[in-house]
Amino acid sequence: MFTIWKENAVEVIKLSAIKEMELLGYRRSNGQVGIRNHVLILPTITCAAQTAQRITELVDGTVTFIHQHGCAQVGVDYEQTFRTYVGMGSNPNVYGVIVLGLGCETHQAYRIAEKIKETGKPVEVVSIQEEGSTLDAIAQGAKIAVKMVQDASRQKRAPFDFSDLIVGTECGGSDACSGLSANPAVGEVSDMIVDLGGTAILAETTELIGAEHLLAARAVDDRVAKRVYEVIEAMENRSIQMGVDIRTGNPSPGNIKGGLSTLEEKSLGAAKKAGSRPLQELVHYAEPPTKKGLVWMDTPGHDIEQLTGMVAGGAQIVLFTSGRGTPTGSPIAPTIKISTNTSMFERMHDNMDINAGTIIDGKETPKEVAKRILEEIAEVCSGKKTKAEILKQHDFGIWRIGPTF
């Protein structure tokens, strides 16, 4: 039963072959490249999430996500949620957006639509209160979506380059193998992406506590190094202010069962995803990188909140390593899931795309697995579906940084 996936374990390709490989994506009017061509129904408020869901049930080619935010938010918390919505709509994997509001919420649909329109893509607004009812909004949204999906379907894939890619990296459900197999392999991929002119995002600030000195030493300048210590201190202080040992929440019970004893140990393994290239800049949650190369996004370790932040920051594709196993995926960006050990890969092969457990088994080196991952990136970029996409794993979660009022 597992033999079709075993092929991955013996297939090794050369980096030069990757360079010659043609990537096919959707060039957007602002020059960015999408590797998917979704029409996004974007509910700016939890009250509109069910209506958005109904539209996706009616119209093929549309995606949405469920959330509980968008109202009674203020200050930096308002801004972070706003930035996340705008980022999801602006991601180049999205062809066009229908921004769906209720009407009376703090995160006004038309304001979010205005920001997304700056990308040049088709954007329409539907408001439940203005349409009359949810049924009217569903009808109106679906009618707009039908036209948008048909227009999207006429766009053809065209060649693009690795330098057009922003690749998010993430680990979740880590075990003691994460820092030995899948994360070092992803670190090699991160270096390859950077060397090919692209961007790799390192994130999950919580899970870099204890490894920050290694990354600060790789910062391009003192300002970036200082920012590394600032975001780490801010994250660590949140747990200190709560008067608790961070180990009550991170590492998680599953991490501990897998052999990870402390947050520092988990962090040193997680940092392996960052490879060895210089750290170019630090960006806020859901903020698009302004530099190519290795970039750190300040996110929590929570898998879905991190994933959402990176996708809203423009990542077209995400590499996600796991030791305990996870179904996670994004409605917008294909998520390639990489197992750290062979037994979990075989148990959860419906959810996992690549096995890096071969490193633990002594059959492959991290570099060899990295080449397989890079080849998978090339294929997924050109249309191959990941397990999480096939299983409609449309996860979404915003890192809230303030109370709801």
């Binding site: 202010q241 961070i246 004893s261 520092e264 040193l268």
Partner: protein, 102 residues
């Protein structure tokens, strides 16, 4: 009786711990190598896949190294060959519980 070819991994010669790459029963003698470090170690506990055991004696309060970096400090004396985990190793970071409230 016990085979001695169990797979283990020590990441840095400075480390206090090595990782079991398969479940290893108590009493097994394993060969641990990392660059110039090479030692036969008799395990005092069952060690699960992915879990750590001490390759050097560690005294209570001492920093514990893995990857050549600090992963926490020992909250008990740890003998060579014993399981190193949450019962005898604690993190030093994010310790709000260590702050005395007034």
């Amino acid at each position: 009786m016990m085979k001695e070819c169990f797979k283990t991994l020590m990441l840095n010669p400075k480390d206090h711990v090595a990782v079991a790459l398969e479940a290893i029963p108590s009493g097994a003698v394993v060969q641990v190598k990392c660059q110039d470090f090479s030692q036969e170690i008799e395990l005092k506990d069952d060690i699960d896949f992915g879990h750590k055991f001490a390759v050097r004696p560690i005294i209570k309060g001492q920093d514990v190294l893995k990857y050549g970096e600090v992963i926490g400090s020992a909250c008990a004396d740890i003998e060579v060959g014993t399981h190193v985990h949450v019962h005898n190793l604690e993190g030093k970071r994010g310790r709000g519980d260590k702050i005395v409230s007034h």
